[in-house]
C-alpha cells in the first residue's frame, strides 16, 4: 500500500533545529525514528503529517550509557542495540528480555524503545520494562525539559503524556538499589513475531519485594499493585501464588479481539504470574532458566 499523503522530509542536524521544526509544524509534524509504526500508520491513512522529522541525525539521541546510577537509553537507540549491549543485559535484564521479544530481527534493527513508548499500543513489549524499573521519559519542548515517570506516561491506547511540539530525548532507567532478577513472559499465537496476547514483566528484589507489570490486558500497560502488596516481604511459595492468582482479575481488564478472547487472556495471565514469579525468584537465587529461555 503506497503512502498517499504528501509531506516534507526533514532531517535536522541539531536539537534546537529539530525543536524548531516541531514547534513550527505542531500536530502536523510526525517524528520519525525507526518508522516501523509510523510508516504503517501513514500507509493506512491514520497519520497524515505535513512534515516528517527524522531524528536519527541527532547525536544526543543515540547515546546508550550509564549516567550516575541510571542507564540512559537515547530515543534513537534500537532494540537490536539494546540486545547487543552488555550493560543492558547485565544491569537491566528485564529490558533485555522485553527487547528480545519485539517483532523480528529486521524490525528490531530499526525500531526504538522510545518509539515503542510513543506509539503506546496496549501490547507494547517496552511497557512492562519501563514500568517495573520505574523509568523516566525525558522530554524536551520549546519551553525546556521535563521528566515524565513511566507510570504517568501512558494515557490511553496510542495516547501518551507527550504534547505537540515536544520530543522524547531518551529514557532513564534508575538501577534497582538491591540485587534483583527478572523475567519477561510474552504470550503470542505462535513463537516468532506476533504481538502479545498477554505480556508480563516480573522483577524480584533481594528484600522479597516484587514488581509486576502487564501489557496487552488493558488500555495501557500497568503495574499490578495489589499483587505486589500481597507478595511484599514473602518468599514465593505455592500457597502465596494461589492467593495472588486470585488477585489477577482485579488487576487487568482484558478484551476479546482478533488475537485472543478475554477469558483466555485472564486464564493465561494467572498462569504467567505463577511461572514468572517462580522464574524470577529462582534467578534471584542463582538458579532458574537462563536469560531469554522460553518459559511459556
Amino acid at each position: 500500500m503506497p503512502i498517499t499523503c504528501e509531506f516534507e522530509y526533514l532531517k535536522p542536524k541539531t536539537l534546537p533545529e529539530a525543536l524548531g521544526l516541531l514547534a513550527r509544524h505542531g500536530r502536523k509534524a510526525a517524528v520519525l525514528a525507526g518508522g516501523t509504526d509510523l510508516l504503517v500508520w501513514m500507509k493506512e491513512g491514520l497519520r497524515e503529517p505535513e512534515a516528517v522529522v527524522d531524528v536519527k541525525g541527532l547525536k544526543e539521541l543515540r547515546k546508550l550509557e550509564m549516567k550516575g546510577s541510571a542507564l540512559h537509553v537515547g530515543a534513537a537507540v534500537t532494540f537490536t542495540q539494546l540486545l547487543e549491549s552488555k550493560l543492558v543485559r547485565e544491569k537491566l535484564p528485564l529490558l533485555w528480555e522485553c527487547a528480545r521479544t519485539v517483532a523480528s530481527c529486521g524490525v528490531r534493527n530499526r525500531a526504538t524503545l522510545a518509539g515503542n513508548l510513543c506509539s503506546a499500543v496496549p501490547s507494547l513489549d517496552g511497557g512492562p520494562a519501563v514500568l517495573a524499573y520505574d523509568a523516566v521519559v525525558l522530554v524536551q519542548g520549546a519551553k525546556g525539559r521535563r521528566e515524565v515517570s513511566a507510570a504517568d506516561w501512558f494515557v490511553g491506547p496510542k495516547r501518551t503524556a507527550l504534547k505537540d511540539g515536544e520530543l522524547v530525548l531518551g529514557v532513564r532507567f534508575p538501577l534497582p538499589k538491591r540485587r534483583h532478577a527478572s523475567c519477561y513472559l510474552k504470550l503470542g499465537r505462535y513463537r516468532g513475531e506476533d504481538l502479545a496476547q498477554v505480556g508480563l514483566g516480573v522483577l524480584a528484589l533481594a528484600d522479597d519485594s516484587y514488581r509486576l507489570a502487564f501489557c496487552a490486558v488493558g488500555p495501557v500497560p500497568a503495574r499490578a499493585k495489589r499483587i505486589e502488596a500481597a507478595l511484599k516481604g514473602h518468599k514465593v511459595t505455592d500457597e502465596l501464588l494461589w492467593k495472588v492468582q486470585e488477585l489477577v482479575a482485579q488487576e487487568i481488564s482484558p478484551i476479546t479481539d482478533i488475537r485472543s478472547s478475554k477469558e483466555y487472556r485472564l486464564h493465561m495471565a494467572k498462569v504467567m504470574v505463577e511461572r514468572g514469579l517462580k522464574a524470577a525468584a529462582a534467578r534471584l537465587a542463582g538458579e532458574g532458566p537462563a536469560l531469554g529461555e522460553e518459559i511459556l
Binding site: 499523503c5 527524522d54 524490525v107 534493527n109 513463537r191
Partner: protein, 152 residues
C-alpha cells in the same frame, strides 16, 4: 512535493537519486532503480519478503522512507548472487524453497546472521528468520541449509 536529493551505495556502486519523500525504500529500489529481488508482500513489516541490508543490517524496505537511505550502504540479493555464497549453494542443494517468493528475504536474513555468528545455534537460526514468512516449506529445509552452511 519537494524531492530529496540523496546519495547512497547500492550493491557497491555509488548512486545519486532525487527521492520522493513518500516513496519507501522498497518502491525506490523496485520501481525506480530496477532492483527486483526485494518483493512487495504484506507491505507492513510482517512478512519479511522486502528485506534488504542497510548498512549491514536487515531492514524492512517497505518500512523505510527512500530519503532515509541517504549516506547508507544498501545491499540486495543481486549483489550476493554475483557469486553464489556457500549458504545459497546449500539452499540450492536441498531445494530449500518451492515458490521462491520469500527466498531473497530469507537469504539476506541468514546472511546477516552468519556474518555476526559463525556458528549459530538452532534457536538462533530460527529467531533470525522468524520474521521471514514462508508458506511453502514449513521451514525445515531452510533451517537445515543455514545450519549446513554454518558448518562450512
Amino acid at each position: 512535493m519537494k524531492k530529496v536529493p540523496i546519495e547512497f551505495k547500492l550493491n557497491g556502486v555509488k548512486r545519486r537519486f532525487e527521492a520522493a519523500p513518500n516513496d519507501t525504500l522498497l518502491e525506490m529500489l523496485r520501481d525506480r532503480l530496477g532492483i527486483k529481488s526485494p518483493k512487495t508482500g504484506c507491505d507492513r513489516g510482517d512478512c519479511g519478503t522486502c528485506t534488504v541490508l542497510l548498512d549491514g543490517r536487515t531492514v524492512r524496505a517497505c518500512l523505510v522512507l527512500a530519503p532515509e537511505a541517504d549516506g547508507c550502504e544498501i545491499e540486495t540479493l543481486e549483489n550476493i548472487s554475483k557469486k553464489p555464497s556457500p549458504l545459497q549453494k546449500e539452499f540450492s542443494k536441498r531445494n530449500s524453497f518451492q515458490c521462491g517468493f520469500c527466498a531473497p528475504g530469507v537469504v539476506l536474513s541468514a546472511t546477516e546472521l552468519l556474518r555476526k555468528h559463525k556458528k549459530p545455534t538452532r534457536p538462533e537460526i530460527q529467531e533470525a528468520i522468524a520474521g521471514n514468512l514462508c508458506r511453502c516449506t514449513g521451514y525445515s529445509p531452510i533451517i537445515e541449509a543455514i545450519e549446513a552452511a554454518s558448518k562450512k
